[in-house]
């Protein structure tokens, strides 16, 4: 049974970046719901300004600090927790946890590490020890050796065979790797590598490039009971980072024997490291025989562990939390909507989930755009369907491809370039694969060139055929049915046939096959679960019963790209919470598997559907929402939706197009909340950029309150208010100024407060302004309650939010970027030494 834990220290995931989006925050949110049930107090450390989870912790128990060894030590000394939970904070938190153990901080303070014992953690984090461990339990790993000379290298190759990968072994940052297929290539590679190493050693390993990449996610309790949550199959072979690969759940091309061998291996590894809670293991599976290798063991929450949970409907974070706290699998109690068997039944799927990565190359074009072993994607979308084709298509039209082209053609690329890209893939990978099929490459050829299983080419071929049929049969009922069967949306049909979407809707009404919604639940129809997560398919039985009472539909942002996406997701989550508190049943629609706004506890119903007009209208027709929130600037969508006069649509924040600028620069801002003719000052802000530019699009660091607040704040607020005409400006409004450095401020513009800064205000002022804004639109705002909030001229600290850019991860030399290049942000506070009142 669970040990009694009174005070828990939870390590957060930090700012979003390449490699992790909001999924850790979403998992933390679910985790906190589980911990609350146990009665334990949570101390939470995280410096992500877009963390939603941290807001469900008592404000006094949240430390807005970077998760570093020293910060955590300081908190431990102050708070004296009984236990520490590192598994939700990614690899960084695991490494900090390990340092705490190494330096005896845990032992000295009598703190338990939950999820994995320190001794086992070391064995997983240290690559050499992990190899020893896997050897001990007879799990195959790729052969690898550090050799001092050519002879030993040759001996090694005689044992393992070609191909091999050769790298200089040195402390320098040389990341060159050579794939050698024969003795000549090996000799060349050794010669270059020995020249480049300072310590005269070269690393040589067996190459598994071209193997299938398979991932397994399981959970285990203290007694050794285990279940496999899901297997995932990367469409792209080893050699392309799994974060940049198209991923399928469940696995599609493994036979039972192969699948079971990997499942058994996963369990053996979980037993060997004595893990409790979740574990994610990656494998390389041979294409020509049943051999496999273990390539990675992650004893913590990863992006794909959470994808497995999303795909199956299994409440992974909730269950894992309780398992880490010592509850056994068969004793886990879930929130009431789930059947009591769910925690210990192995999920089984009757749908297909496809994850399609999104890359940042449109915003950061001047980097190497090839997909390889370094992850480059910044987000992803998932498509859920009852067939593989439907799922692929839904993932694609959730992604960055234009909704006009059914399957965008890349006809400008010549044949040589196509072949080159088949072998050295770029972000447009999936389009090139389809283009190659269009140009008559055979499936065998393509599979040979790309090392992608033939199965996927068959499926893409089906999609191309369906597309031809749809194009050649405009406005025919059978073409509509075929389109629906393969996951083409109504909005696409309307664009393609150049008709209004209501024409397609009328055709749908006369069709025999209507849109239905199916639940994503882990028993494949055996139990009537109420996960309340749905996706569409054109079948016979609809399972989604419209919500009763007042309902609000919130249209999520879809997959993250660069720009304010992480913040927008936080913003969306806030809208959900406020709307629900105001008595609405809340319905979220989104395709981003990592979104906090898709956390199960946050809304009454979730639709994982492409954010496209046709899909939105299908949901609107069923649910008949009283109000629809559209967070973020989505001009096309809001324009199209507003053509439907009977829909009550609220775009938040209001479209930036209403902004009025004198000039496109600013150094200082005054944030206001305006309701009717009441104008409340929220705060003042100083803008910074690393390159000292003042153009608005480069501004990405914020400080609250402004510089020189002691003297300048009051007059500036007065000036700002004087610029406002309340007939034009309502809600969260920002007045911009340029400061000349000596106390003179020039008014430069007015704009709605943007999403990122709205989140910043929430974190720094202690008042939930997004909540207030939503309440205003729901007509339930009590403005008097807010009115006494701000007192200029009394400040104890500066709050600072600095943008995080993915330049290093993309191997770019840039240091400063535009706000459209942000991938996340970090929050910090600085004490003001002498807070003198002006």
């Amino acid at each position: 049974m669970a040990k009694t834990i009174k005070k828990l220290l939870l390590l957060g995931g930090g700012p979003t970046n390449i490699g992790h989006e909001n999924e850790l925050d979403a998992a933390a949110y679910e985790r906190l719901q589980a911990i609350k049930k146990t009665g334990a107090q949570v101390i939470y450390i995280d410096n992500n300004p877009f963390s939603f989870a941290s807001e469900s912790v008592q404000a006094a128990d949240v430390y807005v600090q970077e998760v570093t060894f020293q910060n955590v030590v300081n908190i431990i000394e102050k708070e004296h927790p009984d236990a520490i939970m590192p598994k939700i904070g990614g690899l960084n938190a695991m490494q900090v946890a390990w340092q705490l153990e190494e330096s005896d901080v845990l032992a000295d303070n009598n703190i338990d590490m939950l999820g994995i014992r320190p001794v086992d953690l070391k064995r997983v984090l240290d690559n050499q020890r992990l190899r020893e461990l896997l050897n001990e339990i007879n799990e195959p790993i790729i052969a690898s050796k550090i050799v001092p000379n050519d002879d030993e290298a040759m001996d090694f190759v005689r044992d393992v065979g070609f191909p091999v990968i050769v790298k200089p072994f040195s402390a320098s940052h040389d990341t060159s790797r050579f794939i050698c297929n024969n003795t000549d290539e090996l000799e060349d590679a050794l010669e270059i590598s020995f020249e480049r190493t300072y310590i005269k050693h070269v690393s040589i390993e067996q190459s598994i490039v071209g193997y299938k990449e398979i991932e397994m996610v399981g959970v285990r309790d203290e007694n050794g009971n285990k279940i496999l949550v899901s297997g995932l199959e990367d469409m792209d072979p080893i050699g392309i980072h799994s974060g940049d690969s198209i991923i399928f759940a469940p696995t599609q091309t493994l036979i039972n024997q192969e699948y079971q061998a990997l499942r058994t291996a996963t369990f053996q590894i979980m037993d060997a490291i004595n893990i409790t809670g979740t574990c994610h293991v990656q494998f390389a599976q041979s294409r020509t025989d049943s051999n496999y290798y273990v390539t990675k063991v992650s004893p913590f929450f990863t992006r794909n562990a959470l994808l497995a949970a999303k795909a199956t409907g299994y409440p992974l974070s909730y269950v894992s939390t309780l398992l880490e706290m010592g509850v056994s699998l068969t004793e886990v109690k879930l929130p009431q909507k789930y059947s009591k068997y769910l925690p210990f039944m192995e999920p089984t799927m009757d749908h297909v989930v496809v994850r399609l990565p999104l890359w940042p190359f449109r915003d950061i074009p001047d980097v190497d755009q090839h997909l390889n072993t370094l992850m480059k994607s910044v987000g992803s979308t998932i498509g859920v369907g009852r067939t593989v084709e439907e799922a692929i298509m839904k993932a694609m039209h959730s992604s960055q491809f234009s909704p006009r082209d059914i399957l965008p053609s890349v006809s400008k690329v010549d044949d040589d370039a196509v072949i080159n890209q088949l072998i050295h893939p770029l972000a447009s990978r999936v389009l090139i694969l389809m283009e190659a099929l269009r140009r008559g490459f055979s499936i065998d050829e393509l599979s040979e060139l790309t090392k992608i299983d033939r199965f996927y080419f068959y499926k893409m071929n089906q999609l191309l055929r369906a597309q031809d049929y749809v194009i050649n049969n405009p406005l025919s009922p059978t073409a509509v049915e075929a389109a629906h069967e393969y996951g083409f949306g109504d909005g696409m049909l309307a664009e393609l046939w150049n008709v209004n979407i209501s024409t397609i809707e009328r055709m749908n009404q006369n069709s025999n096959v209507k849109v239905t919604f199916k639940e994503i639940e882990p028993s494949a129809g055996e139990f009537r679960e109420a996960t309340n997560v749905f996706y569409s398919s054109y079948e016979l039985e609809n399972e989604s019963v419209p919500c009763k009472g007042k309902t609000a539909l919130i249209i999520g942002r879809g997959g993250n790209q660069l720009g304010p996406n992480a913040a927008a997701d936080y913003y969306t989550a806030q809208i959900l919470e406020t709307t629900r508190r105001a008595g609405y049943k809340t319905i979220i629609m989104n395709t981003n598997p990592n979104a906090i706004s898709l956390a199960p506890a946050l809304s009454d119903k979730q639709y994982i559907e492409p954010i496209q007009l046709g899909n939105i209208l299908n949901i609107v027709n069923l649910e008949q929402p009283d109000i629809i929130f559209l967070p973020g600037n989505r001009h096309y969508l809001s324009k199209k939706l507003k053509e439907f006069a009977d829909l009550n649509i609220v775009v938040l924040p209001p479209d930036q197009k209403i902004a009025k600028f004198q000039q496109g620069t600013a150094t200082t801002a005054v944030d206001l909340f305006i309701d009717g003719d009441r104008i409340l000052p929220i705060t003042t802000i100083s803008f910074h950029t690393k390159s000292r530019r003042t153009e608005l699009r480069y501004i990405n660091d914020y400080q609250q309150p402004m510089n020189r607040w002691q003297t300048d704040e009051r007059p500036l607020i007065k000036m700002a208010i004087s610029k406002i005409d309340t007939a034009n400006w309502q809600g969260l409004v920002q007045v911009l100024f340029d400061h000349d450095g000596s106390g003179n401020y020039t008014f430069t513009g007015i704009r709605p407060i943007r999403i990122t800064e709205s989140a910043f205000l929430n974190k720094t002022t202690g008042v939930n302004w997004i909540d207030a804004l939503v309440k205003k639109y729901l007509h339930v705002l009590d403005i008097d309650q807010l009115s006494s909030f701000y007192q200029p001229g009394i400040h104890q600290r500066y709050s600072i939010m600095e943008a995080v850019f993915p330049f290093k991860e993309l191997q770019s030399n840039r240091t400063d970027g535009a706000s459209t290049q942000e991938v996340g942000a970090a929050l910090s506070f600085k004490k003001i030494e002498n807070p003198i009142e002006s």
Partner: protein
């Protein structure tokens, strides 16, 4: 694409597209929720007289592997699935699902709302169904009039004994509709196997000087088999280690005085946790059952329960108090399904080794 129908005893009909054979067939409708191993499932003789609804959305993706058949001549009555892929040759020179089903006269229907059928079955309970060209009154009359045979074991089990030689323990496998997974596991343990017909007597079996006897899986209700099978078990269990699986487990229970009940909804899948009572551990295994041992009917002087299904509470394993005889409802061979409990074959080997070491005395 030929349109065909799956029609159910309760009057419901589901249109879909034909693949495999175009035969018209009738059988019991069962849903299987295992996510892998369509080949093992279709070729398992346990599906004699049954139409299988796959809840996994897509089958045929990998072709059929020569080493993954569970029988040579499959006898399922039909395959219902959301989507099928007719992928054939690859490195492994596998044949396609469509061709295989045609060869064995098994009809298939795809593009069906299998999730709806599964939910419907779960609500209404087991029922008969037909795969037909036209879902008219005549077809429903035919369906209602069809009486499915109760001679299933006789139809699928081997009529003659055959060997599977090796150097290890002498194992007699009594074939009630044997799945190959059992033979594979015995081969891995070097067992010198002789497969004998289901109606072999205890004399025939014991005269082969076995170190142990396996009662195999098979189709249908255990009460369709004659008393003589139970007498065989009653005699054999006193002489050599005995291991019953699936139908073999149900027969072992009957032979020791327990009763069998029919499940309202057959359970086919590998998602239920099975608890081993002695260790309190849970594990997963392929389960394909329409019947279960009635736990209240167990004579505790003879048998004790070793395993139980934590979801539906059914008895999943039994052990004899006096003899090294035990049985499990599920399929520990993992074809298809998890191999968490494959160690049961080692337990069986252990029993046989102990018997041999003690020359058959007090082992």
């Amino acid at each position: 694409m030929t349109q065909r129908y799956l029609i159910l005893e309760d009057g419901s009909a589901y249109p879909g597209k034909a693949f495999g054979s175009l035969a018209t067939t009738t059988g019991e409708l069962v849903a299987n929720s295992t996510m892998n191993g369509y080949q093992e499932i279709i070729s398992n003789q346990i599906y004699h007289n049954q139409i299988i609804v796959f809840t996994q959305t897509s089958i045929g993706n990998t072709g059929l592997a020569q080493n993954a058949y569970e029988s040579v001549l499959p006898t399922a009555k039909g395959v219902i699935v959301r989507e099928y892929e007719n992928l054939a040759t690859d490195h492994f020179k596998r044949i396609s699902l469509d061709r295989y089903l045609k060869q064995h006269r098994i009809p298939g229907i795809y593009d069906v709302d299998t999730r709806q059928i599964r939910r419907h079955l779960q609500e209404k309970g087991n029922m008969k169904a037909s795969i037909v060209d036209v879902a008219d009154e005549h077809a429903f009359d035919q369906l209602h009039a069809t009486v499915l045979t109760n001679q299933q074991v006789a139809q699928v089990a081997t009529p003659k004994p055959y060997p599977n030689p090796d150097e290890g323990a002498n194992v007699i496998v009594v074939d009630f509709g044997l799945k190959s997974g059992i033979l594979r596991e015995l081969s891995k343990r070097d067992c010198n196997v002789t497969v004998v017909p289901w109606d072999s007597t205890s004399e025939t079996i014991l005269d082969l000087d076995p170190d142990g006897v396996v009662l195999s899986t098979g189709p249908g209700a255990p009460w369709n088999l004659p008393e003589s099978v139970l007498s065989m078990i009653q005699k054999v269990q006193t002489q050599v280690p005995l291991f019953g699986i699936g139908l073999g487990h149900e027969l072992f229970a009957l032979a020791n005085g327990a009763k069998i009940t029919e499940l309202r909804v057959e359970h086919h899948g590998s998602n239920h946790p099975i608890r081993e009572i002695i260790t309190n551990e849970i594990f997963f295994s392929g389960q394909e059952q329409g019947y279960a041992v009635d736990s209240k009917s167990i004579n505790h002087a003879k048998l004790f329960i070793t395993h139980v299904d934590l979801v539906n509470g059914t008895v999943q394993g039994l052990r004899h108090r006096d003899f090294p005889a035990f049985s499990v409802q599920f399929s520990p061979d993992g074809a298809p399904g998890p191999k968490d409990s494959v160690g049961l074959f080692d337990d069986f080997s252990e029993f046989m080794a102990r018997r041999r070491d003690s020359n058959g005395e007090n082992y």
